[in-house]
Structures are given as structure tokens and as C-alpha cells.
């Protein structure tokens, strides 16, 4: 990973379908002429995808402008990808990430491959990285386990779902949890969450080494960065309105993360603006 300049020509973004067992994943490749590295972006879960979409796309374009080729995608059963959401498991979504990482790596095996995950995507990226996938790992707000990513989404939905209900029609959040624990399927922001999804979510855990960056680097001998996003990163993380009248500014967030990434890749990260 020698020092290289990041001034590269950004090519047209390429949308495609990528075949996985039983479905096609929607992918968007932010192509770059002679890239210095490749990044696989693994996004947040189901309904969170929509809220975080704009800054996630902007981050991909930001990286492409700095000579890094980026691949974004939708999980099986979500967004533009095929598949039925309620039939999917964390195993399927982990497999999606690993298959795409292999494909991206195969484009030029000598280039470093970065796994960058956000929330649920960070969890899946962390698990893949532990299994040996990728050369660099960047995690944005990874939960300790998948259930901790599902829970706030459900709580937000309960508030919205109960808003126009009165009296006996009202149900506390615990009633939703209980339904899934009883084996029933519930609807959350348009997605059908199965009891299996809920049950399995407790078992999908961030590798314990990744709770401490220094420890992770020492164990994996590869650069690892864990960033807890703050309110300035909304709507990449939950909280506040997804839509604002004035465009949000992510310059500082992107510049900080790019600074670290360029260092980890040992490339010239200058001229980031």
C-alpha cells in the first residue's frame, strides 16, 4: 500500500443486478479510473435504508471523487433487491456481503478492500472481517448485537403506529415484543418481522474484539476503526427528521473518516475538498 495520489477520474455510476442464490441483489458501483482502493458499503437495516439513503449515496460519491471505487447494495428482500423480506435471515444477509466482497476483490486482487458498515451493516461487516474478509474495517455505530438495532426501529414504529389510536386500541411496546416472542409476525414500517428474525437477532453479535479499536487492531493485524455517530450524522442514525428544508452538511463527518481511511490505506488523502 504505497503512497499514491487520489486524483482519479470518476466514471459513470453503474447500477446492476448481482445474482445470489434465489434472488438478484441491486448494486451500485461508483466506478473510478485506476482506483487506489475499493470499498464495500454495507448499509443499515430495512426501513433504516430509506432514511439514511441520501447521506449514504453522498458518502459513496465523496469516496469515488478521491479515487476509491465504491460498491453499494441492497440486502436480499429489501429496496431494489429481489426476495421476500420475511423469508430472509441474517445468514442470507451475511452471505450477500461476503459474495459481493469476493466479487469486488476479484476485480483487482492487489488493491486493498475496505469493508464499511453502518449500524446493522456494521455488524455484518464486523463478522465478515473476523472471518478474514477485507483489509480495512470501518464501522459506523455498530450495535453490540442485531437486536439492539431492531429495538429502536420498533420503538419508533410503535409511536407512529399508536399515534392515531385511542383507548383500548392502544398497545404498549411490550405488546409488540411479546407477539414476536409468542411466534407471531408483526409489521414494522412496511416490513414483516418474523419471530425467527427477532429470536435470531439476539445471537448475531459484534465480535467482542471490535468493542475496542486498539484490541481489534492487535488481534486482526489490520486497520479497524469504530465510530459512534453523533446527532450531526442524522439521518445516518436514528433521531430527528429524515427530511429537512435545508440540505444537511456532512463535510466534517466525511472529512474525518476520509482522513482516517486515507491513513489506513497509506494514500495521499490531501485535497479532500
Amino acid at each position: 500500500m504505497g503512497t499514491q495520489h487520489t486524483c482519479r477520474k470518476v466514471l459513470e455510476e453503474q447500477a446492476d443486478y448481482f445474482a445470489v442464490p434465489g434472488a438478484h441483489l441491486y448494486t451500485m458501483l461508483h466506478r473510478v479510473e485506476e482506483p487506489v482502493a475499493r470499498v464495500l458499503l454495507s448499509g443499515p437495516f430495512a426501513s433504516e435504508r430509506h432514511y439514511s439513503y441520501d447521506p449514504w449515496v453522498r458518502w459513496a460519491r465523496y469516496l469515488a471523487q478521491r479515487g476509491v471505487e465504491v460498491l453499494r447494495y441492497d440486502y436480499r428482500g429489501v429496496g431494489e433487491s429481489e426476495g421476500i423480506f420475511e423469508e430472509m435471515t441474517f445468514q442470507h444477509w451475511s452471505e450477500d456481503l461476503q459474495l459481493l466482497a469476493s466479487w469486488l476483490k476479484s476485480r483487482s486482487p492487489n488493491l486493498p478492500l475496505v469493508l464499511h458498515g453502518l449500524e446493522m451493516g456494521a455488524l455484518l461487516a464486523g463478522i465478515a472481517f473476523q472471518a478474514g474478509v477485507g483489509d480495512v474495517l470501518l464501522l459506523w455505530s455498530p450495535p453490540a448485537n442485531a437486536n439492539l438495532a431492531l429495538r429502536p426501529t420498533l420503538l419508533r414504529w410503535v409511536v407512529a403506529d399508536q399515534l392515531f389510536k385511542f383507548g383500548d386500541d392502544r398497545r404498549p411496546a411490550s405488546a409488540y415484543f411479546q407477539k414476536m416472542e409468542e411466534g407471531l409476525t408483526i409489521e414494522v414500517e412496511g416490513y414483516r418481522w418474523t419471530a425467527k428474525l427477532w429470536r435470531d437477532s439476539h445471537e448475531v453479535k459484534l465480535p467482542s474484539a471490535m468493542e475496542d479499536e486498539n484490541r481489534a487492531r492487535a488481534i486482526y493485524h489490520r486497520p479497524v476503526r469504530v465510530v459512534r455517530l453523533g446527532k450531526d450524522a442524522i439521518p445516518l442514525i436514528k433521531g430527528g427528521n429524515a427530511v429537512t428544508n435545508e440540505p444537511r452538511n456532512y463535510t466534517s463527518l466525511f472529512a474525518k473518516n476520509w482522513g482516517w481511511l486515507a491513513g489506513a490505506l497509506a494514500i495521499d488523502g490531501g485535497g479532500s475538498e
Binding site: A15, L163, F164, K165, G190
Partner: protein, 331 residues
């Protein structure tokens, strides 16, 4: 990697300097009832084209299966399309900022896919863009509007208002105060002789009037508003539905459906399924399935029929429906 699957195809459109990304849901080739009229879906801004809960994917796949070529696009600044989110976003959209780009997209889709025309399906902000685009677009043959807002965002502090409203839904005292507030609003409404409020989107209403009174087939599907009662809005709120039906006049071909139990996003199972069924009932009425010869002949026809008899047989209708049946109708 491929841009095509058995049922879908990815495409790009170059419109007004922006690259728009979209998905085409192909009708089944062996299906007997296919149409040369396409359906173009515009999601509520800034939702990506899949929309809340991927409801737009479900609808487009269903309509394609039903026989209508279906398209979903990201407007500039949303989803995967190019261009930044415009400054003063709400004003931009409410004043028809996407009018020309959406109209250009319709035109290109008609040419590229050899369609006789397109029905634009817009949700929320997408419905606003749909109305503006239809007003300048010869290829637009109809509109399907989901919870189209005919007013501008209220002034003041929406977060405080939201919090107060939320409180009023679970607090007995809050509910009482809310009802008193509604009655005061009702008096204000009465005093100004039930005129549209100051934050009405008048440019949008003008386009609506032109389109609806000109006989463009329009299906308007709404979710119940908070504290609404039957076909009436919340006490003290201006009745936009009755107002726009009045503007449309008695020669219009507007149908209004209120889907009971649906959320504003229509992504919940009841809402998305009811929307699908309403559209699958409505589309063949105005855009019947055609054989290829008929489709070719229709290309040469003018966009909005001026057939008086046809108008008189399809008067505006206003109905409240639950997931399976009509429960209340107003003339």
C-alpha cells in the same frame, strides 16, 4: 452483473441535465391482458424509488403482473439519481420544482418503451410533482395521487405541534384541550366563510383545476386524517377534498377513495393491498387492455378525450373504503 432480470430492468434517463435512475417492471409476456399505457411511480421526497416499506416495488410488480408496464424513478436529489437535494426543499417541491424533469421523464419513457401514454402515480410530494408534470405533459394520460397535500407546510414549530398532538392522544386533559382548539379553529373557518386557508398551495390547485375539469382521469387515494370523522376532515380543518372536487366540476373524471386504517405511507399491509386493488379496479376502466393493433392506433389519439358522453358516464365519486369494500359514498 446484469441490468436485467426475468421481471425487471434497470434504466437511466437524461432529463434536464440530471441522470435519473429507474426500474422497469416488465409485464408477463404470456399474460393475455397487456396494455400500452404505462404507470410511472414517483415516491414521496426524499424517499428512494422503492418508497416506504418498499411499497412502490410491490405495486409496480403487481401492476406489471396485471398487464401494465410499470416504472419507478428517482427524481433529482433523491435515491440514486444525480443532482443535489435542492435548497429550500419544501418550497422547491411545492412550487413544482420537479415539473419539467418529471414531464421529460414521461416523454422519454413513452418513446423508449413504445407506450401510448403514462399514468403518473405520485405519493405525497411525488403527487405534487405528478400534478405539475401532468399539466405540461401531453403523454400523461391519467393521475393516481396518494395523500396529495394541497397545502404548504404550516408555519410555526412543527416539533412542538407534533409533541402537543401526541400528548393530546393519550392524555384525557390533552384531548379536551385539543377538542377546544378544534372548535376555535372551526369558528375561524366559519368566519372566513370556509375559504381555503392562507397556506393553500394555490399554484397546485390551479393545475389541479385545469387537469380535472379537462377530464383527465384521476384517482385520488387518501389515508384518514387524524381525528377525521367519516368523509369529513377534523373539526376546524378546511375540507380540501370537497374543495378540489368542486373545482374539478361535474364534467370531471375524478374518483376519491379513503382507505380506512391505512397510514399516510400506505406501506402497511392493509394500505398497500387496498391501494393495489383500487388501482387495479380503476386502471382498466380508463385504460383497457389492448391488442397490439389497438395500441398502435391509440398512439395517434389526442391525450385527453373530449368525448362529452364519456364524461357524463364517469362522474366524480367520493368514497370511503375499508380493506375490502366501500363503506360510505358521497355524491
Amino acid at each position: 452483473m446484469s441490468q436485467v432480470t426475468e421481471t425487471r430492468e434497470l434504466f437511466t434517463l437524461d432529463c434536464q441535465g440530471a441522470v435519473l435512475r429507474g426500474t422497469f417492471h416488465k409485464p408477463r409476456k404470456d399474460f393475455p391482458g397487456t396494455s400500452s399505457t404505462g404507470i410511472l411511480s414517483l415516491a414521496g421526497f426524499p424517499m428512494p424509488r422503492a418508497a416506504h416499506g418498499d411499497a412502490a416495488v410491490y405495486w409496480a410488480a403487481s401492476f406489471a403482473n396485471f398487464g401494465y408496464p410499470s416504472f419507478r424513478i428517482d427524481l433529482p436529489g433523491a435515491g440514486d439519481s444525480s443532482a443535489d437535494v435542492p435548497a429550500e426543499l419544501f418550497q422547491f417541491i411545492n412550487m413544482g420544482g420537479h415539473e419539467r424533469v418529471a414531464a421529460a421523464a414521461v416523454k422519454q419513457l413513452v418513446e423508449r418503451y413504445n407506450l401510448s401514454g403514462v399514468v403518473i402515480l405520485g405519493h405525497c410530494a411525488g403527487a405534487i410533482s405528478a400534478i405539475f408534470a401532468a399539466a405540461i405533459c401531453e403523454e400523461c394520460r391519467g393521475l393516481i395521487l396518494l395523500d396529495a397535500p394541497f397545502h404548504l407546510p404550516p408555519a410555526g414549530r412543527p416539533k412542538v405541534k407534533q409533541a402537543l398532538f401526541h400528548w393530546s392522544t393519550w392524555s384525557r386533559f390533552g384531548g379536551l384541550l385539543s377538542n377546544i382548539h378544534d372548535q376555535i379553529n372551526n369558528i375561524h373557518l366559519f368566519l372566513r366563510r370556509n375559504a381555503p386557508p392562507a397556506n393553500t398551495n394555490f399554484p397546485l390547485l390551479k393545475r389541479w383545476k385545469d387537469l380535472a375539469s379537462g377530464g383527465l382521469p384521476i384517482l385520488l387515494i387518501n389515508a384518514p386524517s387524524p381525528k377525521a370523522s367519516g368523509t369529513k376532515p377534523r373539526v376546524g380543518k378546511f375540507d380540501y377534498l370537497r374543495h378540489i372536487l368542486k373545482l374539478a366540476g361535474n364534467r370531471s373524471r375524478v374518483e376519491v377513495k379513503i382507505i380506512e386504517s391505512a397510514h399516510h405511507t400506505f406501506s402497511d399491509p392493509v394500505g398497500r393491498d387496498a391501494v393495489r386493488r383500487q388501482i387495479e379496479q380503476w386502471m382498466p376502466t380508463f385504460f383497457p387492455f389492448e391488442n397490439p393493433e389497438q395500441a398502435t392506433a391509440n398512439v395517434a389519439q389526442p391525450m385527453h378525450s373530449n368525448n362529452e358522453a364519456e364524461f357524463s358516464t364517469r362522474q366524480s365519486m367520493y368514497a370511503r373504503v375499508d380493506a375490502t369494500r366501500e363503506v360510505e359514498s358521497l355524491p
